[in-house]
């Protein structure tokens, strides 16, 4: 990895101004075991596609729990959209998925992150596993808003179509959809292969990989093995913490 010159330079990668209040304006559950939250963030600072927010919950006795969630919405969206996987033992995600209603207020901090961001102007290859698609939805929506969808190549992997967040949007954008537990069109069930990635690659691309630790490891090794320079690959992994870093 080279010095982080970069994309993030000049943007507030540290959360400006600390904690803010966000009013929940929409709650949807398009997929099982997950929730899509649309937030009206007061005094919001614009984000870059790929950045995340921290959500903090506070109990009556002052006990707090906080987790990071990638932003799915484009910078131009008047609301901030988060897509949260409900982990059965997740203290924060179960609350967000089961309890939160429109009109509730949440404490949030962000946008955060100066590394796993897309500048909207340079070619990018986006490779996601499961819920790792969320930051790429922000990138895709931003590209659509600015008429630069030509810059993005997208490959996503999920167990089944029903478990792929934003599946319709990804298919409409021409993403390569890889399903490991069921066939997709004429493609049999199976993991992402190097042969599938090769046609998506082009010179000058930055490659973004987002997913579970095991997916990210497999995908980056596939890329490096194919000859993609390691220094052009940016990785966001999430583990049991449910938090990108």
């Amino acid at each position: 990895m080279t010095e982080p010159e970069v994309l993030g330079a000049g943007v507030p990668s540290a959360p400006a101004g600390g904690w803010r209040t966000a009013t929940v304006s929409g709650v949807r559950r398009p997929l099982q075991r997950s929730v899509e939250l649309r937030l009206d963030v007061h005094d919001r600072v614009d984000h870059l596609p790929g950045q995340h927010y921290v959500v903090r919950l506070t109990a009556e006795d002052g006990y707090t729990a906080q987790r990071s969630y990638s932003i799915a919405s484009a910078p131009g969206d008047p609301l901030v959209e988060l897509f949260v996987e409900r982990l059965d033992d997740g203290e924060v995600s179960t609350f967000l998925a089961d309890v939160v209603e429109p009109g509730d207020e949440l404490e949030v901090r962000g946008p955060i992150g100066g590394w796993f961001v897309w500048d909207g102007e340079t070619p990018a290859l986006l490779i996601a596993g499961g819920y790792g698609v969320v930051p790429f939805i922000s990138m895709l929506r931003h590209a659509r808003a600015t008429g630069r969808e030509d810059l993005l190549r997208i490959a996503v992997s999920a167990r089944t179509m029903a478990q792929l967040p934003y599946a319709d949007e990804l298919v409409a954008a021409g993403a390569l959809v890889v399903l490991t537990r069921e066939a997709h069109g004429i493609r049999p069930a199976g993991r992402l292969t190097a042969a599938e990635l090769v046609p998506l690659w082009e010179p000058g691309q930055t490659t973004y990989v987002c997913g579970s630790a095991s997916f990210a490891e497999a995908a980056t090794q596939l890329l490096v093995g194919t000859g993609v320079p390691a220094e052009s690959i940016r990785v966001e992994r999430f583990g049991p913490s449910g938090a990108p870093s």
């Binding site: 990895m1 002052g62 509730d104 990108p244």
Partner: protein
């Protein structure tokens, strides 16, 4: 105190006193969080260098580093993404031992740790001296796994874990603080978990 969130009770009513604020106990798991592809580093090609503002810039090979006095850490680690892991056991060499050989000059007050991948992180010198920091190659009595920074990583367990650079290969003594990778990307220059120094400005 922040305003309570409607309906939030919180699960963990008994706070383990070892948990810094805003952290939770990850249990037996050890999440892997890195910003770059995992490098494959053969121990025989790894070296450890201490340079910059020192009297005696020094480089150790794998065998030379292992010949130094063994030092262990048993205790907790804390990641800025809010997990903490209790009762870890690492072994390697104390950073004090490396600095004794290289002898920082009187005007050296900061350290930049550099990894094989080019990852960097900055630390005040006083936070890696006095038995507070290690260069480690063993976890739980076994070789440190590659995804956790093997063959060798820095260990500074009293600070958030991004300071404990994976695949470390160099410590550079500096007279003035310079920001490393995550620090340039918005994270805190010191990163004390007990003061929740997660981001710049905390």
């Amino acid at each position: 105190m922040p305003t309570p969130t409607r309906g939030f009770l919180g699960r963990r009513r008994e706070r383990d006193p070892r948990l810094p604020p805003g952290q939770y106990d990850v249990g037996a798991d050890w999440p892997v969080l890195t910003a770059e592809p995992t490098p494959r580093i053969a121990p025989e090609t790894w070296t450890m260098t201490v340079d910059g503002h020192v009297e005696e810039p020094t480089t150790w090979t794998w065998d030379e580093a292992h010949a130094l006095p063994r030092s262990e850490y048993r205790g907790d680690i804390h990641c800025v993404t809010t997990w903490s892991k209790f009762d870890t056991w690492f072994a390697g060499v104390s950073v004090d031992t490396l600095l004794e050989a290289a002898r920082p000059t009187a005007d050296a007050h900061f350290v930049m740790a550099t990894s094989k991948t080019g990852y960097t992180t900055n630390l005040p010198l006083e936070h890696v001296t006095g038995g507070k920091a290690w260069v480690v190659w063993e976890y739980d009595g076994k070789p440190l796994p590659i995804e956790h920074g093997g063959p060798v990583r820095l260990l500074v367990p009293h600070l958030y874990f991004w300071k404990s650079a994976k695949w470390v290969t160099k410590l550079t003594l500096l007279t003035r603080d310079q920001q490393g990778f995550w620090e340039q990307n918005g994270y805190h220059d010191l990163g004390d978990p007990w003061r929740q120094q997660r981001y710049q400005g905390d």
